[in-house]
Symmetry: D2
């Protein structure tokens, strides 16, 4: 029988090849297609107009890098069965299936305190039933239960293809060239030793570049202060809506799936919750914001209009917390300017921490395999730039204000 | 006073510079910000997952090319005043302001039979009032009333910066490298003679490349059969909804701005219509489709679900029309399969023409200025490839079917 | 045993992987290393300053595309043994081994009337002896004797990886974006049917693009009139030197390997000739030009100085031959200006034909495999642009003059 | 009068525009054309096959960045007269005019102990006479005598366009993407304050990227151990030849301009020396190596053959010097293997230091202009990565050995 093959144009990698029935089945599944309607970078497009790419696109890109990584490891004689190969590709396609609208920006705000990965595993299991158990090995690899640890590490570790794709892709679509990581060279440098994913010695400069590019993406993109302001405004919009609902409002109803989450307030996973969750995406949130832009509540209405028209709250960053006096003064000023009370002004003047969650030396790690057979963790390498980059996470404080 | 300057990252051109108060005012205006919520390529992302860029991004890109073109012409000593320079840049920023949701795919479906350019001019005039007449020269250039024709031709002609940007940008985001037109070389080749925009003789191969790239983009992207199928499905969804509304349905109400256009059916421009129009964007249509996916009407519900989950109608292209017998047979089969009547089956089996509207020799044209001072239209050049490319528009017939 | 692997940075493709002992042995061989000292594009760098890449680089690039093509065909279940795979890669590495200095510009001028391919095969046979017959299958594939024709076609046919690489590479280094052919998509579209290399039906637009890009490269680069002028001057320099030698000159001696070819005038291949040939490269010609720039013969001296300092002869192209009167008048003028006789002026005023040797319908061809199993030659496809591009070769006449 | 304009294709920046008579005169001058025959990166092409670009190409590229930088500063209202603009562009075109064959690899080896900049200024003065003093302001800017320091700093400082171009260009042609510096963003961030070139506050991350990219280029490219080995071999070849000449050899004569430098041993600049210098380029050295490959001296012959055929000496790097015992042992082994004495073996086993001459905090510096008007040097910025990158130069020790 002729193998069917499909190629998908990708501006980042050129072409992505699909050539296995299970991969086709996953891509055609409504749960996967839903990812088309979730922005990969939430509201970052308010600063970087090109950053409108979707989570589906990222999943396909990570799948492509997985194909390359597997081909490389097989060329290096690492034993990988055909079944494992398909399973690890299936797993990477599904790794973000549990993301809700606006991805990380609203993480844990949709189903109270439930992480997207927990939802993801539940959804994979539902799909696995539909697909007659064909996803079992993929799930085992994803959850770290499969005996060959390097397969899991390709999906989730400091050097997984997930990170490689999102840094590359986010750098591409934002146009921030500082984020180019050199994924192709890193993949050429991967190897497996004692069942673990490692990087060959001559790949150290590639790792250096990867870590630095990631650092630059954090400060220039992921924690860009204007993006931060927009995402915090989005959260305040949802919090204000929840508050109104708690006090009896019915005008926050959108007529769509979001109502279930706002009015039923699920805080754990059930079959019904999952069914509803799979109908929810960025469109529901965007529609709500447009609708609430004429809601009678002044705070909700104002926040929504500001976000819609990109009239964002001013934001400042500092290495130490802002004083209570300063915050209070700003709130008073905002209250006066908008003719609201100070409790309401909390939605226009607020503060918090932005954290650059980099590589943590005691947590996961990148192992280097030296030519002489020695294995060292990246934190043990004699390279001052790497040391500087991976040492303790950098924290900044932000304050959003009306003017 | 210090000139304020802002640079915007663009993955296509690197950086776009904004440095004039009028340009800032336009970009910050809600009418312009609305273009963030309109996909440049409608549903093309169902085939090209990267093609999710927005009309706002295209407008900024065309503005950037305008800056380059003006700089080039000024370096060639073409007289352009500072006021004209700002006006022509303002005009290109606003050239697509009248686009409704899903751009060309729904052209004339939102306000019955009214073209986006008509809406655009009306919106520009509203903005002009708000901005104390500062847009007047831009409007004059846009509508062709300004005495220097080349300024209008930079905005709207066979070689305008609008086309240069959308071909370049669409090629970039789809990843279809065949569409790369070489905009930078074309701009270097522009000149003005007797008030008209022309191309220098040595630019002929660049024009050849431009025309061929455009042709390839038509067949590979704009008229890609799967994209065509999706866009026709979208139109059938709206037509079915309108039909239901005409026969008394109230369940098509979405709770948003779309309701005004569906239930009031405006067919000409009034202040109220424009106000509503400016609140409408892709989000409203996408939300409607999601909502109608559980509408009781089987046809509407099915079309919406299919489009949402990318289960598109099959489509075939041919150089001659499909026979009535074939169409009828397909409709019968579809009716039987879905258990509907044949009138309803019209929404699952339908036919039409796809036209590649290329350069038309008798319409607008590209003028070449030879070194010896002679001027010739591109259609009069001794270049068989150009002749072949620009001759009469190519037409294909399509049929969409259920299976 | 661990397979050794080496990766080479290539600005065009990223990384080229070497991982077989025979491939290492070829690359490390002095005959192959000699290709470092031969410009891929002869004197084109006088117009395109970036076009200084070497024939070694091209050979590595063609090898890389061969690796991709073989991987693609194997993924499509085309049977290719490991031995065949190595052999076809070895053959492509060696396909240009017979090139002399300045490649095509001096083709047949070094060893009188002997084509580079004839020299190449002789050199491959010498290497084969050194390498204990390990090149035999590569030579059989190269010379078309091996039973699977598609292997030979990958090396030499209208769509071979040689062309794909040189068009891509020359386009890259010249910066002429019109020459981008989309090699990756073409390779994805290759298949084998009845032992022959074919292109899948959906690859037709890629072929269209390939043919058009090739056409543009011919006119913009390979037959660029200034490049033509420089290359004709180079030939006139060598012809003048030969003429002087024929009439007894000894001052043309350079002290290097070129002397053997100038003074011994070999016109067929012998072991000695081959030994000398392998010591000859662009350096010898460049050194000769520098030395002859102070040769007492005025014609030789002047041509050399002009070429060295890029003071090239003027050149005009026309679709019909230049009249004898015009040529004579130009020669008279040149003779007068330089104070030389008219026979000498022939080296400053001369004429000839430049031919765009495109795809010839009756010669080799590109076969398209349709989904329905039908096979058609590209010339039989219903595509007017392709027809126009591949029809009879285009010829232009040139004249070089002093002023 | 119509301004003549010429555009040159550059694969790095797209197009370079030439549009002033003085710039044309410089580019057409034989001294400038000579730079076509000098590799920008000496022997780096032995590791990076694409790195064959020339010093002429770099000069054109630096000129292009200068055009961009001047346009940016003028857009920021920095006063720059037309005469200054042409002069600073002329100066950057000429900044490397004093480079001899193989650039830095042979620096001070051609004219004993004379730096290329000294030669360059002498050549500029000769050209200035020919050009009727039109280069005077360019020379004043180049030598730092012109009153506006920022013009000189654009040519020579930590952030000059020279560095920006060579890092960008060398990264491009080697294919080492780690070296991409983001020149366009840096140029957008340049400003002038109190006559000095500065970087705006928001450009700090661009500077961080620039410094890190430079660091990576040093270790991966400029001090790549194999490149180092080849360049040291080249020096040993010249030293051996000089030694033979000192002891009476005449067979080192090449018949070209190199003989003057080898046999006359000029150690300061005179008109004759300069005349000869302008005839010397990479071709002379390459030809000598090819000729000496059959010189009777075994050491010279062997080194030349090894370099020609890329059979390079083995090289090791270490953070501390190699012990004398180790060096002696290696020399003994080499002497025995090659059947030479230990004094001769010095050319096959030798040691030295490779230094990464980075930004030195007390030397030149990069000034940052903060929004509040404050000026701080880059070394005073609160950025640990920058600190790490610019701190004391890193030194490694190398040893080359026969096996």
């Amino acid at each position: 029988m002729k193998t069917t093959q499909k190629i998908i144009n990708d501006p980042v990698y050129g072409f992505i090849t699909i050539n296995h029935p299970l991969i086709f089945d996953i891509i055609n599944h409504p749960y996967f297609q839903r990812l088309r309607r979730i922005h990969q970078m939430a509201l970052a497009y308010l600063v970087y107009p090109g950053a409108v790419h979707t989570r589906l696109h990222h999943a396909l890109g990570a799948y492509h890098l997985m194909c390359n990584a597997i081909a490389e490891l097989k060329a290096k004689q690492i034993p990988i069965t055909e079944e494992e190969e398909v399973a690890v590709k299936a797993a990477i396609l599904l790794h973000d299936i549990g993301h809700g609208p606006f991805s990380h920006a609203l993480e844990k705000y949709i189903i109270n305190s439930v992480h997207h990965e927990t939802i993801g595993i539940a959804l994979m299991q539902m799909m696995n039933q539909e697909l007659d158990g064909r996803l079992q090995m993929a799930i085992d690899i994803f959850t770290g239960k499969y005996p060959k640890p390097f397969l899991h590490q390709l999906i989730s570790s400091q050097l997984d293809v997930d990170r490689m794709d999102y840094l590359t892709r986010d750098s591409f679509f934002t146009g921030v060239s500082e984020g180019v990581i050199g994924y192709d060279r890193i993949i050429k440098m991967l190897t497996v030793h004692q069942g673990e994913l490692m990087v060959e010695e001559k790949g150290i400069y590639s790792i250096e570049k990867f870590l630095i590019a990631r650092r630059q993406m954090y400060w220039q993109v992921y924690l860009h202060k204007t993006v931060l302001s927009a995402e915090k405004m989005l959260i305040h919009i949802l919090e204000r809506a929840r508050h109104l609902i708690d006090t009896g409002d019915t005008q926050c109803k959108t007529g769509g799936t979001l109502d279930f989450f706002l009015y039923e307030k699920p805080s754990k996973i059930s079959e019904e919750v999952l069914q509803q969750f799979c109908k929810l995406d960025d469109v529901d949130i965007s529609f709500a914001i447009k609708k609430w832009a004429s809601h009678p509540d002044f705070v909700l209405q104002t926040l929504c209009n500001k976000l819609l028209n990109r009239q964002l709250l001013k934001i400042k960053l500092d290495s130490k917390p802002f004083s209570n006096e300063f915050i209070e003064a700003q709130r008073k000023a905002a209250a006066q300017q908008l003719n609201i009370n100070e409790r309401q002004a909390v939605h226009f003047v607020f503060t918090g921490e932005a954290v650059n969650t980099m590589y943590k030396p005691n947590d996961e790690n990148i192992k280097i395999l030296f030519k002489n057979g020695e294995i060292r963790d990246i934190s043990g390498i004699d390279n001052p730039l790497i040391h500087q980059t991976i040492s303790s996470p950098i924290k900044k404080f932000y304050i959003c204000t009306l003017t």
